[in-house]
Amino acid sequence: MIDPDDLALLATSFAAAMSRAPGAAEADDALHDLGWGELLAHAPLQGAAAAFSALGVTGSAACLLDDVAANALGLPVSASACVVLPAPSFSRQPAERRGQSIHIDGLVSARIDRSDRAMVAVSDGSVVEVDAALLRTTDVIALDPQRPFRRLRVDVCERDVVVLARAGSWDTVILRARAAVAHQLVAASRVMLDQATQHAVDRVQFGRPIASFQAVRHRLADALVAIEGASAVTEMCAEDECDPLMATMARSLAGAAARTTAASAQQVLAGIGFTTDHPFHLSLKRTMVLDTLFGSARTLPTEIGNALLAIGGAPRLIEL
């Protein structure tokens, strides 16, 4: 268990390194130089809390989710480790065997451009290694201009893959990835709220700051409440142990908070927020992309409800 103050310091140094890095690849390298890989091995949930909060604050496109997944699967972690992620809003393994081929339907991070091989989890529980060249997609223009993740739909031949030995399970990947992305969404939501709050104070209409209008104030207050609720659950996913249901709720609430905040911030930022002169659009696009990872704010409440019905009640999950 890392001391909370030390964890906050780590998040700060991670964020500083990300801000200095000119691109995603450089940020990847900088984080690994700072010991991100060792931190992940030592304290996976706390490490992810520090690094993904930094991703959210800076807007960096560093591909750290690959590392979280690789570590959870018991595979080597490095700045060139590439793990194929589930299809948008899904969380099951991205691949399945179809006769002599393996059908992959998922997302791949920008790491694919600098990796020789990518690791792919298959629905039968195995993990295979695939030549990265087979997974590099032709350049398409996607929503997020930095393209931290790309859509992947491809069939590879059984003979072109190597089955890997590993120690972790896909359920661990889901839990840790959900917690990590929740941290990033919460931090990114705070950035959007800060932008809107600053604008509301600065922008004058009818002879007074628009922050003085209750309609504006209540929209921003609702965003902060959504963020703090999601944040409180997400913080519970930075402890030594985390129940999978808790991580699912953190991810669900963080996705919902990002949607609420984006809508409120967009409305308050109004004209300027609709242009690329203002950085808001980058947060809007990034949080939309993040809310497709390992479920979405739309799909996860149903998953939570079904999990509770299978248990037949509501487990306590937290103690004072």
Binding site: T197, A221, G229, A232, A314, R316, I318, E319
Partner: protein, 391 residues
């Protein structure tokens, strides 16, 4: 938070639960169907006395008022386990958690040594005289008048929304001692015996059929000087200090109650699905349950951090408006879900559980009204937490 408190809590909880298990039969008074207000009060008095006599009800309270000392977290744990076992109606439970700390903070040593033990033991019920017919959200405009007389104060005026006043022995009362229009500066808090001559309490029936709330009329009621809480003119500070107490152990108790009701609702729906086949639960129902439970957990995780901050000696302030909005949202989301996942139960059924859900659904409509409306909370968040300046 000190590690000692955290280390102690699990064993405290274990021992408490083992005692509750051993005494379950004697702790629960019987009633048929959904309890009446009188039955709820009898149960509440019964459990308070049993907890006090066994010592559990004294942990977390100062030794000077009959307690055994220790962190307020111990009280939070007791409240949580009581709520989880449906052993006390949550509104009644919160009355002690809200009023006792306020009186301890502002009453004279002699007053609190005399008055707090009977409250903790369940011998007395107290009420909170804050709101008035023309004073809801704008509490500082209250006009119930206290005029200086020989040896004390004469109180005349009216309060409303005073929970359990018809049963109460004492009342924490906000009065206007300054000039009319002196707003928050001219308010004084008094600790009043409800059997004083000149006090009349008249219950108001609320939409779920309960007579919990009262109008209370004060006609030249004498209150001696030693019953002033704090100083003359300090009443606004007393009232503002009530809020952090409401939002600490009392909120933790209410959150535990909501969690418990979510648990029961899910078990009910799962039972129907088990009997009729999985098709009885559709995706929409699962989603509503998921949304309700994650709303409850968002509040509980937030409140957990608040409890730790308070127990660690921190001051609670405007940030607890977020706790308040989250718990109101959780309560309404939960009972809205109950209405929709059990179609027609609240509207038509008449068994004890249906009566209870009907009672709770209707009561939950007030979660965004009492204790500072949702709009007032958002004003506080905007001004104090987002620094948006004045309106």
């Amino acid at each position: 938070m000190s590690d000692a408190i955290a280390d102690d809590l699990p064993s405290f909880r274990r021992e408490l639960n083992s005692w509750l298990d051993d005494n379950e039969g004697e702790l629960r008074l019987g009633h048929v169907g959904h309890p009446t207000l009188d039955e709820d009060l009898a149960q509440f008095t019964h459990i308070k006395r049993a907890l006090f006599d066994a010592g559990w009800g004294r942990h977390g309270w100062p030794v000077a008022v009959g307690g055994l000392g220790g962190s307020s977290m111990l009280r939070a744990v007791v409240g949580e386990e009581i709520a989880t076992r449906d052993l006390a109606e949550p509104g009644m439970w919160s009355m002690i958690e809200v009023l006792a700390p306020t009186v301890i903070a502002y009453g004279s040593p002699a007053l609190i040594a005399e008055m707090i033990p009977p409250l903790l033991r369940g011998d007395e019920t107290w009420c909170q005289g804050f709101s008035e017919p023309n004073t809801g959200s704008d509490l500082a405009s209250l006009s119930c008048r206290a005029t200086a007389v020989e040896g004390g104060w004469s109180v005349s005026g009216q309060k409303v929304w005073t929970s359990f006043a018809q049963f109460a022995e004492r009342c924490v009362l906000l009065t206007r001692t300054g000039e009319p229009g002196s707003a928050h500066r001219g308010i004084t808090a008094l600790f009043v015996d409800v059997d004083s001559p000149g006090i009349t309490a008249r219950p108001i029936e609320i939409q779920n059929g309960t007579l919990e709330f009262c109008e209370v009329f004060f006609d030249d009621v004498f209150v001696p000087n030693e019953r002033i809480l704090g100083a003359v003119g300090q009443g606004w500070q007393v009232a503002m200090d009530v809020l952090p107490y409401e939002r600490s152990t009392a909120f933790w108790h209410r959150g535990a109650y909501l969690h418990h009701r979510a648990d029961q609702l899910i078990a009910t729906v799962a039972g129907i699905a088990g009997a009729d086949g999985a098709a009885a639960v559709d995706t929409g129902q699962a989603r509503l349950l998921g949304e309700a439970f994650q709303a409850v957990m968002a509040f509980r995780c937030r409140s957990r951090a608040t409890q730790h901050r308070l127990a660690g000696g921190g001051q609670l302030g405007a940030e607890t408006s977020i706790d308040k909005i989250l718990i109101a949202t959780a309560e309404q989301t939960l009972f809205n879900a109950a209405r929709d996942v059990l179609p027609g139960v609240i509207e038509f059924d008449d068994d004890a559980e249906a009566q209870r859900l009907r009672w709770e659904f209707l009561y939950s409509r007030a979660a965004t009204i009492y204790g500072g409306t949702a709009e007032i909370q958002r004003n506080i968040v905007a001004r104090r937490l987002l620094d948006l300046g004045s309106e």
